[in-house]
Symmetry: C2
Subunit: 326 residues, 2 copies
């Protein structure tokens, strides 16, 4: 009911009478009043005027299940959302929830991670209150070997969700980073649990730097935030909601075609090193070539000097532009 | 120290004096006496005679870390062993421990599982006190696509470990069951967590029916126990230890060759339907042929009537002999 009341308050420019709220939700005035009090205690500024009703003055940057759901489209509000004030990592929580049976689409969000994870067991800096740390549980009916494509689908969703909300369109650094102004704004960590050739679940973790005003010395050359790029602070719940909606749409298109063929053009239009020189570093050495986009399986296409087109698989290699981080 | 005292008592036919125990372990008599009391309270019958020392009369079917380790070879005792009286499933516990960083070789054992897992999310009957429910954590440096071979390696280890201890040699029903007298004696469930093309960890779960005197009606045609096949009860800790040692040896051979080529002959000598008719059931239909063993990647070879040799991948299909369960 909290979600619905928030959603109604947000959708109304004028006062909403207690009577109307009761009528639309089929509950008592006391029940409505209790929820309003609860919302106020969470940081929402809600004006209550006798004979007029309730009006939401300001939402604050609240990260609760009700707030996140109230930003979502109708169908999205059916989604299970699990919020933590503080946790080890949303990916770890999502994996535990998935082990306990949590269904496809479950979204895990944390205000703060004390053991945030990056790729290959690296740690991920995730200070409280300034970033988005979220993970989706997915249970796609596909072969485990296809699941690495989900990282690319998620990158599209985050890029589009940020664009819808903030108005800037992050580029994608294949396979799992997003960049703005040549610096990292988002990282994606896809983990999977399988049993033989069957996927049990996939966890797609997304970390977005939102309102950080600066980064520690060692990260300042490679990391940025939406605040640093736009000089504005951003509420996180609408961002989470926009990313979720966009990811959901891309995910459906992906499932329909069974590969990335329908998303390839969109992906390449956001690809940071498209048609530029890149260096591919793999365990057996490095080589350079021109990035020519992706194939339908999400492998990066790199055209070497002799004209040979290499299909680069994620996970084995690191790919860099010839200058700096991207 | 408990492990060492148990191991010394087991290795000695005569009384072991308190002085000798103290000397060999570098601890006080009081410390030794305390451990002896603890062992007695766990069910060990230990005789203590003044001026003679201690003697182990009977071990009982104790499932503790110390008992399991005391049965292991020298190197095996370095292994981390985690024992539960009751847990949901040893595979789930192993996955959680692996998420928290537990190392390769960690062994999880439970006296009772209240949510034992079979393949494809099926449940697994695991009554207390009569079976072995154990899981290994592995962190092999290989591609995720190769990990399904670990199920075959584990099947070899269980078959050999049972043979060493009990004297009967279970056959392998590819890919993940062991059978005695045409009925199931063991099931293996291999689960894996990956990040893109990298294995984070593999959990190999092994369930062995040891001392069950009967099975419920619906299982009685397909399941059996070591007790039912040999008319003797078996202590579980030595069995766990033998399976662990055998698996460890096969695992090393497997890692050295990078595939099953060095284990193929051994595996095929235990394969239940070798050179017999089998039916392969996959989502698109069923076909029959003669089982011709496995290839180096662990795929089952089935020769169809027209001479075509099919390579059957685990996970996609179910394979049955033409008569009954095996």
């Amino acid at each position: 009911m909290k979600t619905e009341i928030l959603w109604l308050l947000k959708g109304s420019r004028d006062y909403l009478s207690g009577q109307e709220l009761c009528g639309r939700l089929g509950v008592s005035r006391t029940a409505v009043w209790k929820v309003i009090k609860q919302l106020q205690s969470e940081g929402y500024k809600i004006e209550a005027v006798r004979n007029k009703g309730y009006r939401l003055l300001e939402g604050g940057d609240v990260m609760t299940e009700a707030e996140i759901k109230s930003c979502m489209s109708g169908e999205g509000r059916e989604r299970r959302v699990v919020c933590y004030d503080e946790t080890d990592s949303t990916n770890t929580r999502a994996k535990y929830l998935a082990e306990e049976g949590a269904g496809e689409g479950t979204l895990v969000v944390a205000e703060r991670q004390n053991a945030g994870k990056g790729r290959r067991g690296r740690s991920w800096v995730s200070p409280p209150g300034t970033g988005i740390w979220m993970s989706f549980i997915l249970r796609p009916d596909m072969a485990p070997s296809q699941a690495s494509m989900l990282t690319l689908v998620a990158a599209l969703g985050v890029s589009e969700g940020i664009f819808q909300t903030v108005g800037v369109r992050p580029e994608i650094k294949w396979p799992n980073d997003l960049v703005l102004g040549g610096k990292k704004i988002c990282g994606i960590l896809t983990e999977m649990s399988t049993e033989l050739e069957t996927i049990q679940y996939v966890v797609v973790g997304i970390g977005i730097n939102v309102n950080m005003e600066e980064f520690p010395e060692e990260l300042s050359q490679t990391a940025t935030s939406l605040y640093m790029e736009t000089k504005k602070t951003w509420k996180r719940a609408p961002l989470i909601s926009a990313v979720t909606d966009a990811f959901e749409q891309y995910f459906r298109i992906f499932l329909e075609s069974g590969d990335l063929s329908a998303l390839k053009a969109d992906y390449e239009s956001r690809l940071v090193n498209m048609n530029r020189m890149v260096t591919v570093m793999n365990p057996s050495g490095a080589y350079s070539g021109v990035c020519r986009g992706i194939d339908r399986n999400g492998e990066l296409l790199v055209e070497r000097e002799d004209g040979q087109l290499c299909h680069v698989r994620s996970g084995e290699v690191s790919v860099r532009g010839i200058y700096g981080y991207v």
